[in-house]
Protein backbone atom coordinates (compact mmCIF):
# COMPACT_ATOMS: atom_id res chain seq x y z
CA UNK A 1 0.00 0.00 0.00
CA UNK A 2 1.40 3.32 -1.02
CA UNK A 3 2.41 5.51 1.87
CA UNK A 4 2.27 9.26 1.88
CA UNK A 5 5.81 9.47 0.56
CA UNK A 6 4.95 7.52 -2.58
CA UNK A 7 2.17 9.81 -3.66
CA UNK A 8 3.54 12.61 -5.76
CA UNK A 9 2.34 15.03 -8.32
CA UNK A 10 2.37 13.28 -11.66
CA UNK A 11 1.39 16.33 -13.58
CA UNK A 12 -1.54 18.65 -13.60
CA UNK A 13 -4.43 17.99 -15.97
CA UNK A 14 -4.26 19.42 -19.44
CA UNK A 15 -7.16 21.74 -19.09
CA UNK A 16 -8.78 23.68 -21.86
CA UNK A 17 -7.97 27.27 -22.73
CA UNK A 18 -10.06 28.84 -20.01
CA UNK A 19 -8.21 26.80 -17.39
CA UNK A 20 -11.25 24.64 -16.80
CA UNK A 21 -11.64 20.92 -16.60
CA UNK A 22 -13.69 19.47 -19.42
CA UNK A 23 -16.18 16.96 -18.07
CA UNK A 24 -18.31 14.59 -20.11
CA UNK A 25 -21.49 13.67 -18.24
CA UNK A 26 -23.66 10.75 -19.30
CA UNK A 27 -27.20 10.17 -18.02
CA UNK A 28 -30.44 9.02 -19.60
CA UNK A 29 -32.55 11.13 -17.24
CA UNK A 30 -33.22 14.61 -18.48
CA UNK A 31 -33.65 15.91 -14.93
CA UNK A 32 -30.35 14.39 -13.80
CA UNK A 33 -28.51 15.72 -16.85
CA UNK A 34 -29.62 19.20 -16.06
CA UNK A 35 -28.66 18.85 -12.40
CA UNK A 36 -25.21 17.40 -13.04
CA UNK A 37 -24.56 20.08 -15.64
CA UNK A 38 -25.35 22.78 -13.11
CA UNK A 39 -23.25 21.12 -10.40
CA UNK A 40 -20.29 20.95 -12.76
CA UNK A 41 -20.67 24.52 -14.00
CA UNK A 42 -20.75 25.77 -10.43
CA UNK A 43 -17.57 23.78 -9.88
CA UNK A 44 -16.02 25.76 -12.74
CA UNK A 45 -15.98 23.03 -15.34
CA UNK A 46 -16.67 23.03 -19.00
CA UNK A 47 -19.46 20.48 -19.47
CA UNK A 48 -20.61 18.26 -22.30
CA UNK A 49 -23.73 16.26 -21.49
CA UNK A 50 -24.99 13.27 -23.45
CA UNK A 51 -27.94 10.99 -22.92
CA UNK A 52 -26.45 7.55 -23.47
CA UNK A 53 -23.35 5.41 -23.48
CA UNK A 54 -23.42 5.12 -27.23
CA UNK A 55 -23.61 8.89 -27.63
CA UNK A 56 -20.69 9.18 -25.25
CA UNK A 57 -18.63 6.79 -27.34
CA UNK A 58 -19.64 8.67 -30.45
CA UNK A 59 -18.50 11.93 -28.87
CA UNK A 60 -15.19 10.42 -27.86
CA UNK A 61 -14.70 8.93 -31.30
CA UNK A 62 -14.75 5.40 -29.90
CA UNK A 63 -17.81 4.22 -31.73
CA UNK A 64 -15.86 2.36 -34.36
CA UNK A 65 -16.60 4.92 -37.04
CA UNK A 66 -13.65 5.37 -39.30
CA UNK A 67 -11.91 8.50 -38.22
CA UNK A 68 -8.81 10.09 -39.54
CA UNK A 69 -5.86 9.12 -37.38
CA UNK A 70 -4.35 12.54 -37.82
CA UNK A 71 -7.26 14.28 -36.12
CA UNK A 72 -6.88 15.41 -32.55
CA UNK A 73 -9.22 13.41 -30.38
CA UNK A 74 -11.52 15.37 -28.15
CA UNK A 75 -9.96 16.36 -24.83
CA UNK A 76 -11.82 15.26 -21.74
CA UNK A 77 -10.49 15.40 -18.18
CA UNK A 78 -13.24 13.48 -16.44
CA UNK A 79 -16.20 11.31 -17.35
CA UNK A 80 -19.17 11.04 -15.02
CA UNK A 81 -21.70 8.42 -15.94
CA UNK A 82 -24.94 7.08 -14.56
CA UNK A 83 -24.91 3.34 -13.97
CA UNK A 84 -28.42 2.29 -14.98
CA UNK A 85 -29.06 3.34 -18.52
CA UNK A 86 -31.02 1.58 -21.24
CA UNK A 87 -28.89 0.12 -24.01
CA UNK A 88 -25.41 0.47 -22.63
CA UNK A 89 -24.99 0.62 -18.86
CA UNK A 90 -22.47 2.90 -17.18
CA UNK A 91 -20.45 -0.17 -16.36
CA UNK A 92 -20.27 -1.20 -20.02
CA UNK A 93 -19.30 2.34 -20.96
CA UNK A 94 -16.60 2.31 -18.29
CA UNK A 95 -15.18 -0.90 -19.73
CA UNK A 96 -15.08 0.51 -23.24
CA UNK A 97 -13.31 3.62 -22.03
CA UNK A 98 -10.72 1.60 -20.13
CA UNK A 99 -10.15 -0.56 -23.19
CA UNK A 100 -9.33 2.49 -25.27
CA UNK A 101 -5.69 3.44 -25.56
CA UNK A 102 -6.64 7.09 -25.98
CA UNK A 103 -9.06 7.42 -23.09
CA UNK A 104 -8.15 4.75 -20.59
CA UNK A 105 -6.29 7.28 -18.45
CA UNK A 106 -9.31 9.53 -18.13
CA UNK A 107 -10.86 9.17 -14.69
CA UNK A 108 -14.38 7.80 -14.76
CA UNK A 109 -16.84 8.34 -11.95
CA UNK A 110 -19.95 6.17 -11.80
CA UNK A 111 -23.19 7.45 -10.28
CA UNK A 112 -26.07 5.32 -9.10
CA UNK A 113 -29.21 5.63 -7.01
CA UNK A 114 -28.61 2.12 -5.71
CA UNK A 115 -26.10 1.34 -3.01
CA UNK A 116 -25.25 -2.19 -4.16
CA UNK A 117 -21.85 -3.34 -2.96
CA UNK A 118 -21.24 -5.84 -5.76
CA UNK A 119 -22.03 -3.10 -8.24
CA UNK A 120 -19.66 -0.69 -6.54
CA UNK A 121 -16.95 -3.33 -6.39
CA UNK A 122 -17.20 -4.26 -10.03
CA UNK A 123 -17.01 -0.65 -11.12
CA UNK A 124 -13.93 -0.07 -9.03
CA UNK A 125 -12.40 -3.32 -10.28
CA UNK A 126 -12.97 -2.10 -13.79
CA UNK A 127 -11.08 1.09 -13.02
CA UNK A 128 -13.69 3.62 -11.94
CA UNK A 129 -12.20 6.42 -9.91
CA UNK A 130 -15.15 6.74 -7.61
CA UNK A 131 -18.71 5.64 -7.16
CA UNK A 132 -21.21 8.32 -6.14
CA UNK A 133 -24.65 7.73 -4.72
CA UNK A 134 -27.46 9.68 -6.26
CA UNK A 135 -28.77 12.25 -5.80
CA UNK A 136 -25.30 13.67 -6.28
CA UNK A 137 -24.45 16.67 -4.15
CA UNK A 138 -22.40 19.72 -4.94
CA UNK A 139 -19.89 18.66 -2.30
CA UNK A 140 -19.38 15.34 -4.11
CA UNK A 141 -18.73 17.08 -7.42
CA UNK A 142 -16.41 19.64 -5.87
CA UNK A 143 -14.40 16.95 -4.15
CA UNK A 144 -13.96 14.99 -7.37
CA UNK A 145 -13.09 18.00 -9.51
CA UNK A 146 -10.69 19.39 -6.91
CA UNK A 147 -8.87 16.10 -6.78
CA UNK A 148 -8.50 15.99 -10.53
CA UNK A 149 -7.49 19.64 -10.82
CA UNK A 150 -4.67 19.06 -8.38
CA UNK A 151 -3.51 15.90 -10.12
CA UNK A 152 -2.88 14.34 -6.73
CA UNK A 153 -3.58 10.92 -5.41
CA UNK A 154 -6.44 10.64 -2.99
CA UNK A 155 -5.65 8.93 0.28
CA UNK A 156 -8.39 6.68 1.53
CA UNK A 157 -10.62 6.73 -1.47
CA UNK A 158 -14.19 7.41 -0.59
CA UNK A 159 -16.47 5.02 -2.41
CA UNK A 160 -19.92 5.93 -1.32
CA UNK A 161 -21.45 7.91 1.42
CA UNK A 162 -22.19 4.83 3.41
CA UNK A 163 -19.06 2.78 3.21
CA UNK A 164 -15.37 3.39 3.30
CA UNK A 165 -12.82 1.21 1.67
CA UNK A 166 -11.07 -1.48 3.65
CA UNK A 167 -7.34 -1.51 4.17
CA UNK A 168 -6.46 -3.18 0.92
CA UNK A 169 -7.38 -0.09 -1.00
CA UNK A 170 -4.46 1.53 -2.72
CA UNK A 171 -4.80 5.28 -3.06
CA UNK A 172 -5.49 6.35 -6.56
CA UNK A 173 -2.54 7.80 -8.40
CA UNK A 174 -3.89 9.85 -11.17
CA UNK A 175 -1.49 9.44 -14.02
CA UNK A 176 -4.19 10.55 -16.37
CA UNK A 177 -2.48 13.66 -17.55
CA UNK A 178 1.17 12.94 -17.90
CA UNK A 179 1.94 12.64 -21.56
CA UNK A 180 4.47 9.91 -20.92
CA UNK A 181 2.89 6.86 -19.43
CA UNK A 182 4.91 4.74 -17.06
CA UNK A 183 4.08 1.13 -17.59
CA UNK A 184 4.42 -0.65 -14.32
CA UNK A 185 7.39 -2.80 -15.18
CA UNK A 186 8.42 -4.65 -12.08
CA UNK A 187 11.46 -6.26 -13.72
CA UNK A 188 13.29 -3.04 -14.45
CA UNK A 189 14.83 -1.27 -11.51
CA UNK A 190 13.33 2.11 -10.70
CA UNK A 191 15.39 4.96 -12.03
CA UNK A 192 16.95 7.09 -9.32
CA UNK A 193 15.14 10.24 -10.45
CA UNK A 194 11.63 8.92 -10.97
CA UNK A 195 9.48 7.16 -8.41
CA UNK A 196 7.94 4.02 -9.81
CA UNK A 197 4.20 4.46 -9.61
CA UNK A 198 2.46 1.56 -7.94
CA UNK A 199 -0.11 -0.23 -10.06
CA UNK A 200 -3.27 0.99 -8.49
CA UNK A 201 -6.54 -0.82 -8.63
CA UNK A 202 -8.20 2.42 -9.27
CA UNK A 203 -6.21 3.87 -12.11
CA UNK A 204 -3.54 2.83 -14.51
Amino acid sequence: MASAGDVFRQGLPEVCAAGKLHVLAVDDSHVDRKVIERLLKISSCKVTVVESGSRALQYLGLDGEKSSIGLDSVKVNLIMTDYSMPGMTGYELLKKIKESSVFREVPVVVMSSENILTRIDSCLEEGAEEFLLKPVKLSDVKRVTDFIMRGEGMKGVKISKKRSRSDDCIPSLSTAFSSVSHPCDISSPPSPCVLQPKKSRLSI
Binding site: V31, R38, K134
Partner: protein, 150 residues
Protein backbone atom coordinates in the same frame (compact mmCIF):
# COMPACT_ATOMS: atom_id res chain seq x y z
CA UNK B 1 -44.44 45.45 3.97
CA UNK B 2 -46.05 43.39 1.25
CA UNK B 3 -42.76 41.85 0.23
CA UNK B 4 -42.04 40.83 3.79
CA UNK B 5 -45.41 39.16 4.08
CA UNK B 6 -44.92 37.39 0.77
CA UNK B 7 -41.58 36.09 1.92
CA UNK B 8 -43.07 34.91 5.19
CA UNK B 9 -45.70 33.04 3.22
CA UNK B 10 -43.06 31.37 1.07
CA UNK B 11 -41.08 30.36 4.15
CA UNK B 12 -44.19 29.04 5.87
CA UNK B 13 -45.23 27.06 2.87
CA UNK B 14 -41.81 25.54 2.47
CA UNK B 15 -41.74 24.65 6.14
CA UNK B 16 -45.07 22.91 5.77
CA UNK B 17 -43.98 20.99 2.67
CA UNK B 18 -41.08 19.63 4.68
CA UNK B 19 -43.05 18.99 7.85
CA UNK B 20 -45.64 17.01 5.93
CA UNK B 21 -42.97 14.96 4.19
CA UNK B 22 -43.63 16.11 0.64
CA UNK B 23 -40.07 17.32 0.14
CA UNK B 24 -36.70 16.32 1.48
CA UNK B 25 -33.18 17.74 1.71
CA UNK B 26 -32.54 17.31 -2.00
CA UNK B 27 -34.93 20.16 -2.74
CA UNK B 28 -32.79 22.45 -0.60
CA UNK B 29 -29.66 21.21 -2.36
CA UNK B 30 -31.22 22.33 -5.63
CA UNK B 31 -32.21 25.71 -4.25
CA UNK B 32 -28.61 26.26 -3.21
CA UNK B 33 -27.63 25.97 -6.84
CA UNK B 34 -29.62 29.06 -7.70
CA UNK B 35 -27.96 32.42 -8.08
CA UNK B 36 -28.57 35.75 -9.77
CA UNK B 37 -27.71 34.29 -13.16
CA UNK B 38 -29.91 31.23 -12.57
CA UNK B 39 -32.70 32.42 -10.28
CA UNK B 40 -35.29 29.91 -11.50
CA UNK B 41 -33.19 26.82 -11.64
CA UNK B 42 -35.36 24.75 -9.32
CA UNK B 43 -38.54 25.65 -11.14
CA UNK B 44 -36.87 24.72 -14.44
CA UNK B 45 -35.81 21.37 -13.06
CA UNK B 46 -39.26 20.72 -11.64
CA UNK B 47 -40.85 21.60 -14.98
CA UNK B 48 -38.59 19.04 -16.66
CA UNK B 49 -39.65 16.58 -13.97
CA UNK B 50 -43.33 17.13 -14.79
CA UNK B 51 -42.66 16.49 -18.44
CA UNK B 52 -40.69 13.31 -17.81
CA UNK B 53 -43.25 12.16 -15.25
CA UNK B 54 -46.19 12.55 -17.63
CA UNK B 55 -44.45 10.37 -20.14
CA UNK B 56 -43.44 7.74 -17.59
CA UNK B 57 -46.88 7.63 -15.95
CA UNK B 58 -48.52 7.16 -19.33
CA UNK B 59 -46.03 4.40 -20.09
CA UNK B 60 -46.82 2.70 -16.79
CA UNK B 61 -50.55 2.95 -17.48
CA UNK B 62 -50.17 1.20 -20.83
CA UNK B 63 -47.88 -1.46 -19.47
CA UNK B 64 -50.26 -2.22 -16.58
CA UNK B 65 -53.16 -2.63 -18.98
CA UNK B 66 -51.51 -5.40 -20.90
CA UNK B 67 -52.01 -9.05 -20.15
CA UNK B 68 -49.88 -10.74 -18.93
CA UNK B 69 -48.23 -7.98 -16.96
CA UNK B 70 -44.61 -7.33 -17.89
CA UNK B 71 -43.19 -6.81 -14.40
CA UNK B 72 -39.66 -6.30 -15.61
CA UNK B 73 -40.75 -3.48 -17.83
CA UNK B 74 -42.79 -1.93 -15.02
CA UNK B 75 -39.79 -2.13 -12.73
CA UNK B 76 -37.55 -0.45 -15.30
CA UNK B 77 -39.97 2.41 -15.94
CA UNK B 78 -40.64 2.94 -12.26
CA UNK B 79 -36.92 2.93 -11.54
CA UNK B 80 -36.58 5.91 -13.86
CA UNK B 81 -39.49 7.68 -12.25
CA UNK B 82 -38.14 7.01 -8.80
CA UNK B 83 -34.78 8.37 -9.87
CA UNK B 84 -36.08 11.69 -11.07
CA UNK B 85 -38.42 12.01 -8.09
CA UNK B 86 -35.42 11.51 -5.87
CA UNK B 87 -33.45 14.11 -7.80
CA UNK B 88 -35.95 16.83 -7.02
CA UNK B 89 -36.56 15.77 -3.43
CA UNK B 90 -40.08 14.43 -3.96
CA UNK B 91 -40.12 12.36 -0.78
CA UNK B 92 -43.64 10.91 -0.72
CA UNK B 93 -43.70 10.17 -4.44
CA UNK B 94 -40.36 8.41 -4.10
CA UNK B 95 -41.71 6.26 -1.25
CA UNK B 96 -44.67 5.19 -3.39
CA UNK B 97 -42.29 4.30 -6.20
CA UNK B 98 -40.33 2.08 -3.84
CA UNK B 99 -43.51 0.32 -2.74
CA UNK B 100 -44.57 -0.19 -6.34
CA UNK B 101 -41.23 -1.74 -7.18
CA UNK B 102 -41.58 -4.14 -4.27
CA UNK B 103 -44.92 -5.31 -5.65
CA UNK B 104 -43.27 -5.69 -9.06
CA UNK B 105 -40.57 -7.88 -7.68
CA UNK B 106 -43.19 -9.94 -5.88
CA UNK B 107 -45.04 -10.25 -9.20
CA UNK B 108 -48.13 -8.86 -7.49
CA UNK B 109 -50.23 -7.25 -10.20
CA UNK B 110 -53.00 -6.11 -7.91
CA UNK B 111 -50.51 -4.58 -5.49
CA UNK B 112 -48.87 -2.77 -8.40
CA UNK B 113 -52.15 -1.32 -9.56
CA UNK B 114 -53.12 -0.13 -6.10
CA UNK B 115 -49.77 1.42 -5.41
CA UNK B 116 -49.75 3.03 -8.84
CA UNK B 117 -53.04 4.77 -8.05
CA UNK B 118 -51.62 5.96 -4.75
CA UNK B 119 -48.46 7.19 -6.45
CA UNK B 120 -50.45 9.16 -8.98
CA UNK B 121 -52.38 10.79 -6.15
CA UNK B 122 -49.20 11.78 -4.35
CA UNK B 123 -47.73 13.11 -7.56
CA UNK B 124 -50.83 15.20 -8.30
CA UNK B 125 -50.82 16.60 -4.76
CA UNK B 126 -47.15 17.47 -4.89
CA UNK B 127 -47.55 19.10 -8.25
CA UNK B 128 -50.36 21.33 -7.00
CA UNK B 129 -48.43 22.33 -3.92
CA UNK B 130 -45.26 23.09 -5.86
CA UNK B 131 -47.17 25.18 -8.35
CA UNK B 132 -48.50 27.25 -5.47
CA UNK B 133 -45.07 27.42 -3.89
CA UNK B 134 -43.34 28.67 -7.04
CA UNK B 135 -46.11 31.16 -7.65
CA UNK B 136 -45.63 32.57 -4.16
CA UNK B 137 -41.86 32.54 -4.55
CA UNK B 138 -42.04 34.51 -7.78
CA UNK B 139 -44.31 37.07 -6.16
CA UNK B 140 -41.99 37.44 -3.21
CA UNK B 141 -39.14 38.17 -5.59
CA UNK B 142 -35.58 36.94 -5.62
CA UNK B 143 -34.39 36.45 -2.09
CA UNK B 144 -32.35 34.03 -0.06
CA UNK B 145 -34.78 31.12 -0.36
CA UNK B 146 -32.38 28.33 0.27
CA UNK B 147 -32.68 28.39 4.01
CA UNK B 148 -33.19 25.14 5.81
CA UNK B 149 -36.55 24.59 7.41
CA UNK B 150 -36.40 23.89 11.14
Amino acid sequence: MDKINSRRQVAAMKQSLFDQGYLDEQFIQLEELQDDANPNFVEEIVTLYYRDSSRLISNLDHTLERNPVDFNKLDTIMHQFKGSSSSIGAKKVKAECTLFMEYCRARNGEGCRRSFQQMKKEYATLRKKLETYFHLARQAGPVETAFRPK
